[in-house]
């Protein structure tokens, strides 16, 4: 069972990094205490993982045939990639890291021609459409909810609504995160037959929750401050649009990046308000993350498999 440690580590890193996307705004603005935010994140991540996490676990676990050893190498490669890129302060997606690593394993095992091109195309298209989809959802939410919220005249009601909204969207965001990203942590081991899907969902969910509780403060504050530059309604729309996007991808069984969904949602707010919310540097970093994360993870898994296998 110690094989699972690499998956647990990946889940911990994921929780530490991505809790910021759901409660960053609430915490930095002081509306939600850090303690409450991480406890809610942990609860809803586990709930999302256990309830719907198996939908994406299938995609990661059965992308290619995995043995216990290759599952370990894939998860380890993804974990190293995530750690390395976080150290280099580069944007990183665990979904892209684990799938990149699994593709690397598949290339070594079955060659280029053996790659499941249908599944791969679906996944890559989903990655491209994550920020785009989030942008569309964010734009529609901003216009639709904005119309309704503008009808609320009182500052007191507006403030209550925003506060409740931040709590509810944060919980939904955590649920979506758990349901979608839990596959990245233990999916490969489910594919290798070490554990059952529901066990994978539970172990992965708990490890993400522990990551959020123990190590998310720093990222939460930096991401939260960036999103908090938006007005509270826009920040709420960003979190909600990101959560809806990620949740929709859970339904089609593809793990995607919550951070990239947030970037798309923020860009759409800029478009709706006629202001620039995303600069070229940020876009460049997203593109860099898209390309470098799966490439690095794939290269690592190939390297590890060839040298150890």
């Amino acid at each position: 069972m110690w094989f699972l440690l690499s998956g647990i580590y990946l889940g911990w890193a994921l929780g530490a990094n991505d809790a910021a996307n759901v409660f960053g705004t609430g915490v930095t603005s002081g509306l939600v205490s850090y303690r409450l935010a991480v406890i809610l994140t942990a609860i809803f991540v586990i709930l999302g993982a256990v309830t719907e996490g198996t939908k994406c676990i299938g995609t990661v676990g059965y992308f290619t045939s995995l043995t216990l050893f290759t599952a370990l190498l894939a998860t380890l490669s993804a974990a190293i990639t995530v750690t390395l890129m976080t150290r280099l302060k580069l944007p990183v997606s665990t979904s892209q890291a684990i799938l990149g690593a699994i593709v690397g394993i598949a290339i070594v095992g079955e060659g280029w021609r053996g790659l499941p091109m249908g599944k791969l195309t679906k996944v890559v298209l989903c990655w491209i459409f994550t920020p785009l989809g989030a942008a569309v959802i964010s734009f529609l939410l901003f216009m639709g909810l904005g119309y309704l919220v503008n009808r609320i005249r009182g500052l007191a009601v507006f403030t209550h609504l925003m506060r409740i909204g931040i709590l509810v969207t944060g919980c939904f965001g955590a649920y979506a995160l758990g349901s979608n990203n839990v596959a990245n942590t233990t999916g490969a081991f489910v594919g290798a037959g070490l554990i059952a899907p529901i066990e994978g969902a539970l172990i992965g969910g708990i490890s993400i929750g522990v990551g959020a509780i123990t190590y998310s403060r720093g990222v939460m504050i930096s991401v939260g401050r960036r999103i908090s530059l938006l007005d509270p309604f826009s920040a709420l729309v960003v979190v909600l649009a990101g959560a809806i996007t990620v949740y929709l991808y859970t339904q089609i069984g593809v793990p995607v990046s919550t951070s990239q969904a947030v970037v798309g949602a923020v860009a759409a707010i800029g478009l709706a308000k006629g202001i620039r919310t995303i600069n070229k540097k940020m876009l460049f970093f997203v593109l860099l993350g898209w390309i470098s994360t799966p490439l690095l993870a794939a290269s690592l898994s190939i390297l590890l498999l060839l040298s150890l296998g």
């Binding site: 930095t28 603005s29 002081g30 509306l31 904005g146 919220v149 503008n150 005249r153 009182g154 500052l155 007191a156 507006f158 403030t159 209550h160 925003m162 506060r163 908090s228 007005d231 509270p232 309604f233 826009s234």
Partner: protein
């Protein structure tokens, strides 16, 4: 718990405003007594104005403390802190006017009494309009915005009154030092409406920020 704290901030700001409004009421009485020549009673009212300023200051400090604990949307937090400072400025100015009368004891020729009264009354009217706009903010930000605009109109009237009175002062045969002293008093009295306008501008700003 969260909602209770936010309600507490609003209550404390409202309390600060009410105390300043009460202080302005006593300022009006003090000026009236001074103009009637009852300087002893005016001194007593001066002390009351000072006490009201201290109480308003305490309410402000309490509200600031609660606000710093982070129970407000960050978008409005700074505005509310600024607003409390602006309300405090009005209370300070009321205190300065009664102190001016108490320390400098200026001789005010009776033909100007009515205009002095009017400037003080209009200043208080400006503050009361601001107070109403603050109360509207909770229920309807658009109404608060329109109401805050009324303060501007009153402030313009006060400006006109001030200019007219100062012109009369400087056209009179009084000593230059006396003219300057009276001008200073008139300007001080006019500050009440100026500062109320600043506070009302903050209400307008909060209302605009609330729009999506």
């Amino acid at each position: 718990m969260l909602f209770k704290k936010k309600g507490k901030v609003q209550k404390l700001i409202q309390e600060q405003i009410n105390l300043v409004a009460q202080g302005l009421g006593f300022l009006k009485e003090a000026v009236e007594l001074y103009l009637e020549g009852d300087k002893e009673e005016c001194e007593l009212k001066t002390r009351v104005v000072e006490q009201m300023e201290t109480k308003a200051d305490e309410a402000k400090r309490e509200a600031e403390k609660t606000l710093y604990e982070g129970m407000y949307l960050p978008l409005f937090r700074e505005d509310f802190l600024d607003l409390m400072e602006l309300i405090d400025d009005v209370a300070d100015e009321a205190e300065r006017i009664v102190d001016f009368l108490s320390i400098e004891n200026p001789e005010i020729p009776s033909p100007w009494n009515e205009k002095m009264r009017e400037i003080v009354e209009k200043g208080i009217l400006a503050f009361n309009l601001f107070r109403e706009s603050f109360m509207l903010l909770r229920e309807d930000t658009q109404k608060a915005f329109s109401h805050a605009y009324k303060v501007k109109e009153v402030e313009k009237e006060v400006d006109r009154l001030q200019d007219g009175l100062n012109r009369e002062i400087f056209q009179s045969n009084l000593q230059l030092a006396h003219k300057i002293q009276l001008r200073d008093l008139v300007i001080r009295m006019g500050f009440i409406s100026d500062l109320s306008e600043n506070a009302a501008d903050k209400i307008s700003m909060i209302s605009i920020k609330r729009r999506i």
